[in-house]
């Protein structure tokens, strides 16, 4: 595993009116690492992702990706540099078949450039990527309307949408939310495989136990600010983190 800096976020801030959704957050990520982003509801996790991927313009701070300043770039440019994201709410294009959903990222300039403009048959490439995330080629599922997919498959489709862009940094926004234990269990090997390929991963999660089976370290957000950073043990033993999750009365009363 190479130890090159892939992402450096410094003093990132976003204000919505008077609300500091993300406040002075800094962290670094090495190539091939996996980072968890945790924190209570409304702590600014999703906003942080939106800032990095260009969906929201930051009010302050810098995001450096492989030595290049990507602060405030539009999403499509950030994707073309190799950062792909999934959404917390998996909203596929409902009326078209599942595999056709992947035609859209395959049509992007990044995907077309990667294979010298020739993924050849885009439909075939789409099916191939669906197979990678556990859809069966010969079953009916990839050809059905995406709106008819069960929730677990929608999340897989989200993951596949990221992978079609062959990114170097994958950002997954609450991939596990709404998935059953068995669905998560079946997706964990996939994430392990993605890591083995040397891809860098950022995962926003509420499901801490499952999260720490994938990531090496995590940062903890609360009220938009970073309150802790470290391995699972370090983070969970941090008193401020426990306060943030459990409420201060519980701890002081105990």
């Amino acid at each position: 595993m190479s130890q090159d800096l892939i992402l450096k976020v410094s003093n990132l801030a976003k204000n919505f009116g008077g609300v500091k959704a993300v406040n002075d957050v800094s962290f670094e990520l090495q190539e091939g690492e996996a980072l968890g982003v945790i924190g209570p509801n409304g702590s600014g996790k999703s906003t942080l992702i939106n800032l990095i991927t260009g969906f929201v313009k930051p009010s302050g701070g810098r995001i450096i990706y492989r030595g290049e300043n990507i602060t405030g770039l539009p999403p499509y440019k950030i994707v073309s540099l190799g950062i792909a994201r999934s959404f917390q709410m998996a909203k596929p294009f409902y009326n078209i078949p599942v595999f056709k959903n992947l035609i859209i990222p395959l049509y992007s300039s990044r995907a077309r450039k990667l294979k010298g403009g020739a993924y050849g048959d885009r439909d075939e490439a789409a099916i191939h990527f669906l197979e990678d995330v556990g859809f069966e080629r010969d079953s009916q599922v990839p050809y059905k309307a995406a709106g008819a997919l069960p929730h677990g498959y929608l999340k897989r489709l989200e993951l596949a949408r990221c992978l079609t862009l062959e990114p170097d940094l994958i950002i997954l926004d609450e991939l596990f939310s709404g998935m059953s234990m068995s669905e998560i269990a079946s997706i964990l090997p996939l994430l392990a495989k993605i890591r083995e390929e040397g891809k860098t991963l950022i995962m926003v999660e509420h499901r801490l136990r499952e999260l720490f089976r994938v990531v090496d370290k995590a940062i903890v957000l609360n009220f938009g600010g970073k309150i802790a950073e470290g391995t699972s043990g370090e983070v969970m033993d941090n008193e401020e983190v426990r306060k943030a999750y459990l409420g201060s009365e519980v701890l002081s009363g105990a």
Binding site: Y76, S80, R85, P92, F93, P105, Y107
Partner: protein
């Protein structure tokens, strides 16, 4: 106990067989696919030859019908990319005034000025609409609604391009038969071309922008650029319609930005059905001749017209074309439903 029945819709066997490559199996199956298209193409191409039956009046009606159909096709393509336009008159007027300008000031013949106006007009409209492309839904609609009204007032206030008088005495088109064949051909090319375009991967990206633009952005696609392209492509038939009709009347004036060029295409698509382009065309081919027939009723014309609109909008919200298509593809049958015994 009364037995319950449930309505069931099934694809016809021939539909299932002709869905894909199997269409080449038998003449009957080829006909199933090709006949509806050939009837439309054939009927339209025959029309100018039947001048004795139709007379000059209905030939003129056909030209206006095709014009509205082109505007409706343009609307439908914009809507496929999630851009709901309430101002098709902008495109129409742009095409009309550009050709009027070229013809009046530089004496260009229609064979040059109409294509030039089609492209230039579409470019101008795209540039005008570019800043508002990031608006969605009703906001985009309201801006497009205001645009033609704005242009009309600019022409009136600044007295450019003939002001309230308009530009008259423009070069005529070479004869009725040529006119009819040109506009019929363009309409047919446009409807089949758009149907094909929207089925390609490119069209898929446009439709995806309508469904969920954030997911398309996350897919690494510059949606602003794709919307711009969609506006340009969609503007082409509409500016052509404007330019063509200008030479047909040999006149261009402020009515080129009139509300009817925004409203009629919109109602055509609603009546005919959105998203299929054939629906937009069918809608125009029902509404425009209908409004001509209703002239016999004098003042009651608008009332009857509105009533018909109401009936279709409520009775067939999916659109006439989609209804016909469903009947053609599927059959319905009643299936007895077993009583649940306790």
């Amino acid at each position: 106990m009364k037995k319950g029945y449930r309505k069931e819709r099934l694809d016809r066997g021939i539909k299932a067989r002709t869905d894909d490559i199997f269409a080449i199996c038998s003449p009957r199956e080829i006909a199933y696919i090709a006949l509806p298209r050939f009837i439309v193409i054939g009927a339209l191409l025959m029309f100018p030859l039947l001048a004795v039956l139709t007379g000059i009046y209905w030939q003129n009606v056909l030209i206006i019908t095709c014009t509205i159909a082109l505007l409706a096709l343009s609307w439908d393509l914009l809507a496929s990319a999630g851009l709901v336009s309430l101002g098709q008159a902008l495109f129409f007027g742009a095409g009309a005034y550009v050709t009027g300008f070229l013809s009046h000031h530089y004496g260009w013949p229609p064979i040059l000025s109409v294509p030039a106006a089609t492209v230039t007009g579409a470019l101008l409209c795209t540039m005008l609409l570019y800043p508002v492309l990031r608006l969605r839904g009703i906001y985009f609609g309201l801006i497009t609604f205001a645009m033609p009204l704005l242009m009309m007032r600019i022409v009136e206030a600044t007295k450019i391009l003939g002001g309230t008088e308009g530009l008259s005495g423009l070069a005529p088109l070479p004869g009725m038969k040529v006119e009819l064949y040109v506009i019929i051909t363009v309409t047919l090319v446009c409807v089949f071309g758009f149907r094909r375009l929207i089925d390609t991967d490119y069209g898929l990206v446009l439709r995806a922008i309508r469904d969920n633009d954030r997911a398309v952005m996350a897919g690494g696609i510059n949606i602003q650029w794709y919307k711009t392209q969609a506006v340009f492509i969609a503007a082409l038939p509409a500016t052509f319609a404007g330019a063509f009709l200008t030479h047909h009347y040999q006149f261009v004036g402020m009515p080129a930005f009139a509300l009817e060029y925004s409203i009629l295409p919109l109602t055509s698509v609603i009546i005919g059905g959105t998203g299929s382009f054939a629906g937009a065309m069918l809608g125009a081919f029902i509404l425009v001749p209908l409004s001509e027939v209703l002239r016999a009723f004098g003042t009651l014309r608008v009332v009857i017209y509105c009533l018909i609109l109401l009936v279709f909008a409520i009775g067939l919200p999916e659109g006439i074309f989609h209804y016909i298509q469903r009947k053609y593809y599927q059959f319905e049958r009643l299936v007895p439903v077993e009583e649940i015994k306790k």
